[in-house]
C-alpha cells in the first residue's frame, strides 16, 4: 500500500539540463529571491518519469492485488517503510546552529548563498565557507548530484586560490 498525500508529477527525474550550466543558471541567479524559491519548490515536487516501462510493473502489481494507493493509513496497524525527507536547513542541527550563531540570511527553507555556493557572511579574504549537497540548492538547483558537488568544489577552489 502506497500512502500519498499528493499525486507525483510525471516528468523526467533530472533537473532540466540548462540548470546544470551557465545557460540556465545565469537567469536563475539573476531572479528575485521569491522567484528562485518558487523554482526550487517546483523542482522538488515529487515526480517520476512517464512511460510504459514505469507504469506497467505498477499496473501488474495492482491487478495481482500486491499494490494499491491510499491517501491515509486507512486503519492499518503499522507502517513498515516510509520515504520522504524533512526538507530545509531547519531540520539539520548543524546548519540550523550555523544560521543562528551567525545570523545568516535565509529564505524560506534555504540558506541564501552566493552563486558560487559560498556563504557570503562567512567568506572573505581570510576564510571561505562553502556549502555542498542539498543545502546548496540556492546556488545550484541540482546540488544533490555529482555535478552539484563539482560545482561547489570549483567555486570553493576559486575562492581558496584567491584567498591564498
Amino acid at each position: 500500500m502506497s500512502i500519498r498525500r499528493r499525486e507525483p508529477l510525471r516528468r523526467p527525474l533530472n533537473v532540466p539540463r540548462p540548470f546544470f550550466s551557465k545557460r540556465g543558471l545565469a537567469a536563475y541567479h539573476a531572479a528575485t529571491t521569491e522567484r528562485r524559491a518558487a523554482t526550487l519548490r517546483e523542482l522538488s515536487t515529487p515526480s517520476y518519469p512517464s512511460g510504459a516501462s514505469w507504469d506497467e510493473p505498477v499496473r501488474a502489481a495492482e491487478r495481482e492485488g500486491r499494490f494499491r494507493v491510499e491517501h491515509s493509513p486507512n486503519g492499518s496497524h503499522q507502517v513498515i517503510a516510509a520515504t520522504g525527507f524533512r526538507q530545509g536547513f531547519q531540520n539539520d542541527a548543524l546548519l540550523a546552529d550555523l544560521v543562528d550563531a551567525h545570523d545568516l540570511p535565509v529564505h524560506d527553507r534555504w540558506i541564501v548563498l552566493e552563486p558560487d555556493s559560498t556563504v557570503a557572511a562567512l567568506t572573505d579574504e581570510t576564510r571561505t565557507l562553502s556549502l555542498a549537497g542539498v543545502a546548496a540548492q540556492w546556488a545550484f538547483p541540482a546540488a544533490d548530484t555529482i555535478a552539484g558537488a563539482k560545482y561547489a568544489a570549483h567555486g570553493f577552489r576559486r575562492r581558496v586560490c584567491r584567498t591564498r
Partner: protein
Amino acid sequence: MSYTLTGRIQTRVVSALPALLVALALQRWWAIELVALMLGIGLILDAGVYHRALAYQPAWLALPLGTLEFGLVYGAMRWLHLLAPLRWAVGLYAIGWVSAQLFGHAVFPRLRLEYAEDGGELGRRGALTTVAVAAIVLGGLGAAYAVKPPTIHLHGTIQGPLVIRHAQTLVGGTVKGGILIRANNVTLRNVTVIGGDNGIDVLDARHVMLDNVRIVGVTLDGIHVRRSSVMIENCKITSPNGPWVQGVDISFSMDKEMSMVEGCTIVGVREGIVTHMTMVDVTHNHIGATSLRGITMGEMSMGAINHNDVLGAHGVGIICLDHSECSIEHNTIVGTRTDPTGDSSRAGVAIEAHFFANAKVKNNTVIASPGGVQAFDGSTVTR
C-alpha cells in the same frame, strides 16, 4: 552540454585552430577560404538555429549535425565556386570536426574545469584565443580577396584576337578572331569565340580554367593548349571552318599539372579531343561526326578516357596511340564508320591501341562499329 551562445561561439572558433593551422601550412587560398566557410556556416547555425533549438545538446548529436554542416559547406563551396580539391576539402573538414570533438570532450574540460558549468565558455584566455583565430581567418580572407584576379565582364561582340597576359577572370561576351592566353590563373567563363586560326590558344600557362566556352568557325583548333595545364568544362565546339580542324588539342605538357576535359560537346571536326605527351582525364564528353578519330590519347600521354559518347566517327572512335597508357572505361561508341582506304586500323574500330600503346578497357558499350576493339603494332588491350 547546455551551451550558452558565447560558449558555443568560443568553443567552435577555438576548435577550428587545428584546421586553420593545416590550412596555413598548405599555403593555398582555398584552404583559408574553406576554413572561413566552415566557421561562417557554423556560427550562423550556432546563433540562428542551434542556440534556440538545442537547450541541451547530447553528445550523439555531433554526428548528425556534423553531417548537416558538411552538406552545407559542400553546397556553399559549389555555389561560391571555391576551387578546392575535393579530397583535401573533405580532409580539412574532417580535421575540423574531429578536433571539435576532441577539444569539446577532452581538451577544454581538462584545461578549464568549469567548462561544462560555464556552458562552453572558455574564460579570458579562451576569449583571447577566439579573437586571435577570428583575426587570422579574417586576415587570410582579406589577403585572399586582395590578390584575387580581377573579374572582367565582356558585353556584346569584341574584335580579337584578344591577348591575355595577366591573371584574370573573363566572363561573357563574344570575341571574334580568337583568344590567346599567356598568363597563369586565367578563367574564361561563358565566353563565345567566333573564327580565328585557333579559337582559344593557351601557351605556357598554368591553372587555366575554360568553363562553358563556345567556339565556332575556327580553321585549326577549337582549343589549342601547349605546355600548359587546363581544366576545360562544358565547352561546345562546332561548325569548323575547313577540313583540318581539331576540337581540343592539349600537347607537350607532361611536366605540367594534369589537365582535364569534361562535359564538352564537339561536332564535325577532324579529331574531337587529341593529346600528345600530356597527362589528362577526358570524361563525360560528347563527340560526334569526326572525320579522323573521336578521341586520341597519343605520343606517350597518360590518362583516363571515361564516360564519353562517341557517335558516328569516321575510321576510329577512341584511340590510345604511340606508347601512351590509357584507361578506357564506361564509354559508349556508336556507328563508327569504315574508312574506304582499306586500312584495317581504320575499319570502323570503336576502341584501338596502336603502336606500343597500352589500353585498359572495361565496361564500354560498342554499337554498330564493325572494327570492334583492337590492338595494332605491338600494342596491348587488357580487359
